[in-house]
Subunit: 291 residues, 2 copies
């Protein structure tokens, strides 16, 4: 289908402002709109978070997400390191020159880039990604920082002690939270060997959840899910994948390849797991956003 | 890679409750957690919306998203009708039997199922999906119902008059909103011929945005995006695609194939556009959620 000819006949009548022309009036309008309805608080969720966020990053550059939206997602690229070393591919499907518009054609395995492991990924009969209750995609975000011990031991795990220490400092982890491990590994994502700590399974080395901690979160705190900034819920040196086998069998999901958790730490944000409802999906690419 | 052997050695030590064992205590916990921080309102956004939502659908069945999360996304299936008739494909990549776990391999064009048209889809130089500011993915949801006139005319459009009528009844459309057309077409999605009103371009017939209304929303209301419950931002009988050409060139995006807008109508919800940040994407599959 070539639309180039028809498009050239379309008039260009308008001159409009820029997309990102943010000013204070934006928030005022949003607040006014939302104040009027039953969900006045929804507006506040979006605007109140803003001021607490750093408007300018350390280097003086304006941060993305500075106004209350924190993006916890890596770009979905053909270079993204995957557990099985299967890369995503893309090619132009339609082009500006030949078709008048631009699109791409993609191929990939479901477990690429920032993505969900659905409960049914390892456990037959557990929910697949398109069977999850939408309510389970939204909940308080809790970030467990194990970056210090991960610097010493690349196969460091989140332990029950880590979770109890978090609770002593920050209060009880609420039910229906998304609890994410921040090991510092997200910074290594552009260097596959460093990110995975080895060329292929079973030579990997990276941090993950200990099975006792994962089950504690499922049983004692009834979390909606757990997340890691590495390539797998289990640490890299695991050969039995107990978190995949036992934790996912509780009907809960995991998110792998979470980005930018440092920006969300101690923010008491609300996580929204924007996973595409892939048909019979064992999981799949998602947009993870914190408000 | 076969993990089946190693997995069989993993112990199954735990018995835990169900994923969807919702009870009132959940909300109490969530509120308590969120009350403690700067974003107390974020908790309220999630819990306050709940009571206003219908807990039971017309047929007496429990609605998904009844507790405050409204899913506006169709399942991403190989049968989903596409504008160019290019279907998505999927095949098993790993299986429980042979590999000890289950995954799928996907192929598709970016404009399949509920998906974004990025500003750069038609306009070279405008932002692609991985270049959008995360702030532009969150905003008040506004639903414009044109289902009555769409029943009489399948190529009915959202007009400036429709937008002004909405504002007289519901108040001014706030800046940075996502404004979606509800034409009733989402119900036809399982019948491709009915959904598209024809077998292939240029024989389509379905509702869409009029160019004047789309530009009014961009210029006068500074929306973050527009959405349609049909397969294209422009109506089916358009051959010049002015909304794709002119509106997208303002640096704003569109969402096509939005689902379930009836559940969000007049709810003053917050829309979260969970679009995967596809590398150089002209758009692509997303999870659209309203809180």
């Amino acid at each position: 289908m070539c639309l180039a000819e028809t498009m050239r006949t379309a008039p260009h009548r308008h001159n409009v402002g820029e997309l990102h022309a943010h000013d204070e009036k934006v928030d005022v309008d949003r607040r006014a709109f939302l104040r009027g309805g039953a969900v006045a608080a929804a507006g506040a969720a979006f605007t109140v978070v803003g001021p607490a966020a750093p408007a300018v990053a350390a280097g003086g550059r304006r941060r993305k997400g500075h106004r209350g939206v924190i993006d916890l997602t890596h770009r979905f690229t053909t270079e993204f390191p995957t557990f099985t070393n299967l890369p995503a591919t893309r090619e132009p499907l339609e082009t500006y020159e030949e078709d008048g518009y631009y699109t791409q054609f993609w191929t990939f395995g479901e477990h690429t880039a920032t993505h969900m492991d659905a409960p049914g990924h390892f456990a037959p009969g557990q929910p697949l990604v398109d069977e999850l209750d939408p309510d389970s995609l939204v909940g308080p975000l809790v970030v467990i920082d194990i970056s210090r011990k991960a610097q010493r031991n690349p196969n460091a795990t989140v332990t029950v002690d880590d979770l109890r220490r978090y609770e002593r400092r920050h209060g009880r982890i609420p039910r229906k939270s998304l609890v994410c491990m921040d090991s510092g590994w997200a910074d290594k994502v552009n260097d596959p060997l460093a990110f995975k700590g080895g060329a292929e399974f079973p030579d990997y080395n990276f941090p993950g959840f200990g099975i006792d901690a994962a089950m504690w979160l499922a049983e004692r705190r009834d979390v909606i899910g757990i997340g890691v900034d590495t390539i797998s819920l289990d640490p890299g040196n695991s050969e039995t994948f107990p978190v995949h086998v036992e934790y996912l069998a509780t009907g809960r999901y995991g998110i792998e390849g979470v980005a930018n958790l440092g920006a969300a730490k101690h923010r008491r944000a609300l996580a929204v797991v924007g996973v595409v409802p892939w048909q019979d999906g064992s999981g799949g690419p998602c947009r993870l956003i914190a408000l």
